[in-house]
């Protein structure tokens, strides 16, 4: 796809040697003939430039071949350019790819590919472009592709504000409970599809509980719901679940996928993000308190710049929220500091734009976006915001890694504690010094006359004095080791305000025009005022994203929430709403949800209520012929999708039913200090997952995820993931069969059942099914389980009958936990 990376055949090289070198024929004669439109300029083109292009370029960029869709044998071809952009921008040598390519300064764009042109020819081309690229066809009205793109591009569905469509007439008006159901049903009606019947209460409570809190319902909760015939039963359960702290834990995890949360850097140098957990806890808390999504957006992008009204806790919370910008994987050992800085900015910008706006801004780093009307200039206008933001304390110095910035979130009490500790330490050190001084004096005084004192006076201390000194030293060592660290949080602050130049081909070695910081022209127009020089503009950018002035934010988050409830988005590509993304399968529905969110003060919990109390959500997964034929992938949502639990729900549900789940919230489970190595060159594995806390609290170690996460399609924790895939592979089965986790979990489940004072096998099997599946076993299942117990106790390799019995139960429990029913929700 590289424009001009074709390779001139060898014979051209030889041909080239015989071209007369026209040293004396500088074009620019007395009357500056190269000026556009001048006859002399055109003559210069004809005599000097056209032959040069014909010799070196036409073979690949001419009538026969158009490598990279570029032609250099016509004026229009040069101006419109190829895949990478305009080859010639009159008078702008820094923006003309032709000049850049022949200059050989950019590693990825060197033309002709095999041999650099002689300097004199490069100078001629440069001079010609600088003079306005005079050409006989220059009067032709050639419109650059860029402008065309911008005007047409704005018409694209996602770049227009969401629209309210009239509530459609539907085939079953009584089916709908809110606008959502009407828009969904209308799409089914259009295609002669009927919605699946409502799911049973048992199915619904499992689905609802897993969806909202990531855990199965207790046997009691499931039984109560199954009995409850009151009209508001569903609403009450929903409220209860939304109010439980487990809700925030569940939904924070979804958001953490989007913001590529991790407790280690990964990438090249895998060191600990020792304070990332503070951001994670911020997200859990934000969801539990139903922070308005617009505020949530502003805090993560520009929390440090929001007024906090002297409320220190709020200020710290907002500083912590900006951890969002700093969590990305960084090439911390990159020796090229400028490249490292630009790579970090790129990662921030790309993540931010994809997570909140669903646009792939990163594509415009090296060239104008090929599919969306976003230019390189737009990219560098936004990149300037992050250039003006401090993300790093420093870049790599020889022998050390780059160090990310952390904001202090130390309270007065923290400072006092640290100062007190320092005072104690100083006192203890003084005591040591004083003791040595006085003891030395005493020991030396006691020496017989004329004895020269030994070099190490302490070596002749009495045993008692030595012991005393050791104990005093021990106090110092302890105090040193226990010196409290002032709490800090990954995040950003304002840096030195600067605008960036367009980096041609993404390289800072070939800079184009400087672009003032501003919003993309696509959204704010070409006449917008650029940001002033007093701030980075980050707050303005955040405010714009969090406003209803832009067409994307509410749609993107509404679609994400839909995806997390239904298993697929209304826009399948949750992180790309651009031209290469999928089109919405039901735009009226998506727009309704987006506007509903905006109108309800951006309340996520309100959106959950609307969704889970709808008839659409309550459908069963029952198949029907028309649906399977017309829409086998269920894109229009004519039934519920059968879905496998995510990795963390698999683990959490197993710990939950086996009675082992530790429900304590928040804090860090890292064993390493901040910036400590998870993995250095010795490849020693320092990870530890020995905890029964919910999965969201387990360390997320990039490049070396916990087995359960790795196997069961966790997010890769390094890039924006709005849609996890769900694979079925044999190594998952090996884990289910042979892992120590499964052995201990099934043993715990067996123990909880059998120790429950119940010795009757039938009753225990009943309990097991209720706990694991929220239902009683069928007669066949019941018999199969009993037969299994008989046979297993027979084969089990144990001495005592009680042990055999326990082992048989453990094996049965493992089968239950392995089963499809346990890890799939209908």
């Amino acid at each position: 796809m590289l424009d001009m990376n074709n390779h001139l055949p060898k014979q051209f090289f030889w041909l080239f040697l015989f071209i007369p070198i026209l040293v004396g024929s500088r074009i620019i004669a007395e009357e500056n003939p190269s000026r556009a439109g001048s006859t002399a300029g055109v003559e210069f083109f004809e005599s000097q430039i056209r032959p040069l292009l014909a010799t070196h370029c036409y073979q690949c960029h001419g009538p026969e071949e158009q490598e990279g869709q570029l032609r250099l044998d016509s004026y229009a071809g040069m101006i419109q350019g190829g895949k990478s952009g305009a080859a010639v921008v009159p008078q702008e040598t820094a923006e003309s790819l032709l000049v850049i390519a022949v200059g050989y300064a950019n590693e990825h764009l060197k033309m002709p590919p095999d041999d650099k042109l002689p300097e004199i020819e490069i100078a001629k081309l440069t001079e010609w472009v600088a003079a306005g690229a005079p050409h006989p066809d220059e009067h032709q009205n050639v419109v650059s592709k860029k402008r065309l793109n911008l005007e047409a591009g704005r018409q694209f569905w996602s770049f227009q504000r969401p629209q309210i469509s009239p509530v459609p007439a539907v085939s079953q008006p009584n089916w709908g409970r809110s606008g959502l159901d009407f828009y969904l049903l209308a799409r089914l009606d259009d295609n002669q599809l009927t919605p699946a019947p409502a799911a049973s209460n048992r199915t619904l409570i499992r689905r609802l509980t897993f969806n909202l809190i990531g855990l199965p319902p207790t046997a009691g909760a499931a039984a109560r719901f199954a009995q409850d015939r009151s009209p508001d039963a569903l609403a009450r359960v929903t409220d209860r679940l939304l109010a439980s702290p487990q809700y925030g834990e569940r939904w924070a995890r979804h958001w953490l996928d989007v913001v590529r949360y991790a407790d280690s850097n990964g990438l090249d140098e895998n060191i600990a993000h020792g304070n990332a957990w503070r951001y994670r806890d911020y997200v859990v808390n934000a969801l539990n308190t139903d922070k308005s999504f617009d505020v949530f957006v502003r805090e993560q992008i520009a929390g440090d710049l929001l007024a906090a009204d002297d409320d220190q806790q709020r200020r710290f919370e907002r500083l912590t929220a900006t951890g969002f910008l700093s969590l990305g994987p960084k090439v911390l050992a990159e020796p090229d500091a400028r490249k490292m800085e630009m790579d970090i900015i790129d990662e921030q910008l790309d993540t931010l734009c994809r997570s909140f706006l669903g646009i792939t801004m990163g594509c415009a780093r090296c060239h104008d976006h090929k599919f969306d009307p976003l230019s390189s200039a737009d990219y560098y206008a936004l990149a300037g915001i992050f250039k003006s933001t401090r993300t790093m304390e420093n870049f790599r110095k020889v022998g050390a890694l780059g160090k990310w910035w952390e904001n202090s979130i130390a309270t007065d009490a923290d400072h006092t504690r640290k100062n007190d500790h320092a005072t104690q330490l100083a006192a203890a050190q003084a005591e040591v010094a004083e003791f040595i001084k006085s003891t030395d004096a005493a020991v030396l005084a006691a020496l017989p006359e004329c004895t020269s004192p030994p070099e190490d006076v302490q070596s002749i201390y009495s045993a008692e004095a030595k012991a005393k000194l050791n104990s005093l030293n021990a106090v110092v060592t302890d105090l040193q080791a226990s010196m409290p660290e002032l709490p800090s949080a990954m995040g950003v602050q304002e840096g030195d305000i600067a605008n960036l130049a367009v980096h041609i081909r993404g390289s800072y070695l070939t800079l184009g025009k400087v672009v003032p910081r501003r919003l993309p022209d696509l959204f704010a127009g070409t006449q917008q005022a650029s940001f002033d020089t007093s701030t980075s503009g980050r707050l303005k950018f955040a405010n714009w994203i969090a406003s209803t002035d832009n067409p994307l934010t509410s749609r993107v988050i509404a679609n994400r929430i839909w995806r997390w409830h239904f298993g697929q988005g209304l826009v399948g590509t949750t992180d790309n709403f651009g031209n290469l993304g999928e089109r919405p399968v039901n735009q009226p529905l998506l727009d309704w949800l987006a506007l509903e969110l905006e109108h309800r003060q951006w309340s996520i919990k309100a959106l959950h209520r609307t969704i889970v109390t709808s008839s659409s959500f309550a459908m069963s997964s029952q198949d029907n012929e028309a649906g399977s034929a017309m829409d086998p992938e269920n894109r229009w949502q004519w039934r519920a999708n059968l879905r496998r639990l995510e990795a963390e729900s698999i683990r959490d549900a197993m710990l939950f039913v086996s009675g082992q789940l530790d429900r304590s919230m928040g804090g860090s489970l890292l064993h390493l200090k901040n910036r400590g190595y998870f993995f250095d060159h010795t490849s020693k594995d320092t990870t530890s997952y020995d905890s029964q806390r919910r999965s969201i609290y387990l360390p997320i170690v990039r490049n070396h995820l916990y087995d359960v996460f790795q196997l069961f399609d966790y997010s890769d924790a390094g890039s924006v993931v709005g849609h996890r895939t769900s694979s079925v592979v044999a190594p998952q089965a090996l884990f289910m069969m042979n892992s120590p986790f499964m052995a201990t979990t099934s043993a715990a489940l067996a123990e909880s059942l059998v120790n429950n004072a119940e010795t009757n096998r039938q009753a225990i099997i009943q309990n097991l099914f209720q706990q694991a599946f929220s239902r009683a076993p069928s007669a066949v299942e019941f018999q199969n389980a009993l037969d299994f117990l008989n046979e297993a106790t027979h084969i089990a390799d144990a001495e005592a009958a009680a042990e055999k019995e326990q082992e048989a139960w453990r094996l049965l429990c493992q089968v239950i936990l392995q089963s499809n029913e346990f890890i799939y929700i209908e």
């Binding site: 090249d268 994987p329 490249k339 290469l580 060159h681 694979s727 079925v728």
Partner: protein, 458 residues
């Protein structure tokens, strides 16, 4: 849509691959697949020398470096370097001509040198990154700052495996630093294509096992009983919930796992090998035993149809990363790998496997011809050496060259993308056609570059 398969199951967005790869739709994403053109190699063993072995001290002799020892480098050093370096430093090793080809190899590799007529030595590799992490990622995935699938994953995606009871891509004792799992992960390619790892670099190879392939507490009989009950429960559930490919696939996955846990330990068991073979790989000597084991495992896996196997030499002290004490460090490293690698080449040849097995040797970069400190060399991604053997490459052949001191690749330069393109070509894959659509874009191992080095094809 795919229904069921061996290692991989369920719905996979395969339409894209099927359009590109001229093969009939396979029932199994890991089923062996037809190539774009006849393959010269069917499988690949990558002997990865973590840390960056010095090319000017091994396979790229520079007489001028000896002559000008202690003088300034007569041209500019790269704009970006990893560490401070000083003047030219001669190689402390002697070089000798070997084989019919007469190629020079230093006495760091006396055993490999005997195979020089089978080696295709690439002296002009360049284009990784000056730091280990970036360079490892670049070499393994083609990108040093984006998360991309590893070359083993691309190869497995393109070719499938020839044994449905085994993974298509295995990595033995991989390093966990400097990219870690990313170096053999599948990134956005389906999970079936990521490597199955055995052990880690900090572990002795004799302890390396495929995870969870063995049950420590439950006997095989009891496990069979469990799986039978599981199948009954799952089928009853299936009857109620209605046909669903994921549910059906998952039922099959347990049966496959049961077979895998039988097959894998057999392959891991080197006791089956003769004394002669064990000693060929150096298993009878303490210094070569560890790496020898890895090489022997590699042969056992490829014999059984594994497509891509990586073996890592990553001495836990400093690997091949001799910023100082080059002499002792490289001596120790080479001693551990030289005999086992030669043994592997001999063994592959005598079994007729070398013809269609490609062996790739090298590190993430080479080392500078100029000294770091008094007796070390810094990282050098500007020009270094890797070699290939077997699988359709010219033997006793040198391709490309660095400058007269060995700093920059200058002749027939082979960028990492070119290396990848060439390897795929040898395996019968057109690197421009092996694409995967992700987030709305077609991705390739070679990104937008890559040129096949035609001159090395046998």
């Amino acid at each position: 849509m795919l229904k069921a398969s061996a290692l991989g199951f369920g719905h996979l967005a395969f339409a894209d691959l099927l359009n590109k790869v001229p093969a009939a739709a396979p029932a199994n994403p890991l089923a062996a697949r037809q190539t774009h053109f006849p393959a010269r190699a069917k499988r690949i063993i990558f002997l990865f020398m973590k840390g960056g072995p010095s090319h000017v001290d091994t396979f790229d002799r520079k007489p001028k470096l000896d002559r000008d020892d202690g003088k300034e480098l007569p041209f500019d050093k790269p704009r970006v370097t990893f560490a401070e370096t000083g003047k030219l430093l001669r190689s402390p090793w002697k070089f000798k001509h070997f084989g019919q080809s007469g190629i020079e190899v230093s006495n760091l590799f006396p055993h490999v040198a005997k195979h020089v007529d089978d080696l295709c030595i690439l002296n002009s590799v360049h284009g990784t990154n000056p730091a280990h992490g970036g360079a490892c990622l670049k070499l393994h995935t083609g990108s040093d700052n984006f998360i991309r699938p590893s070359m083993g994953s691309w190869v497995t995606y393109g070719l499938g495996t020839e044994n449905e009871n085994l993974p298509g891509f295995i990595t033995i004792c991989p390093t966990l630093a400097h990219g870690g799992v990313r170096n053999f992960g599948s990134a956005f390619l389906p999970a079936q294509y990521s490597a199955t790892s055995m052990g880690v670099a900090s572990q002795e190879a004799k302890l390396a096992r495929v995870k969870f392939a063995k049950n420590e507490v439950t006997s095989k009989d009891l496990q069979r009983l469990q799986l039978d009950l599981l199948s009954k429960f799952n089928h009853e559930h299936l009857d109620i919930s209605g046909a669903h490919s994921d549910l059906e696939s998952r039922i099959l996955s347990f049966e496959l796992a049961f077979r895998m846990q039988h097959e894998i330990p057999q392959i891991e068991n080197l006791a089956e090998e003769s004394e002669k073979t064990r000693s060929l790989y150096g298993l009878d000597q303490a210094v070569t035993e560890d790496f020898g084991r890895q090489c022997l495992l590699a042969r056992r896996f490829i014999e059984r149809g594994v497509r891509f196997i990586q073996v890592t030499h990553s001495n836990t002290k400093v690997q091949w990363d001799q910023h100082g004490d080059l002499l002792n460090g490289h001596n120790a490293n080479a001693l551990e790998v030289d005999l086992p690698i030669a043994g592997l080449l001999t063994d592959l040849k005598q079994r007729g496997l070398l013809e269609d097995t490609l062996v790739l040797w090298g590190g993430e970069f080479g080392r500078t011809p100029v000294a770091q400190g008094t007796d070390g060399r810094d990282h050098n991604p500007e020009g270094f050496t890797m070699w290939l053997a077997g699988g359709g490459v010219k033997g006793g052949f040198r391709y490309g060259a660095t400058d007269e001191y060995g700093y920059y690749a200058v002749e027939n330069k082979m960028h990492i993308h070119d290396l990848h393109a060439t390897i795929l070509h040898l395996l019968g894959i057109d690197h421009e056609q092996l694409t995967y659509r992700y987030a709305g874009r077609d991705f390739r191992l070679t990104d937008v570059s890559g040129r096949v080095a035609q001159a090395i094809l046998a």
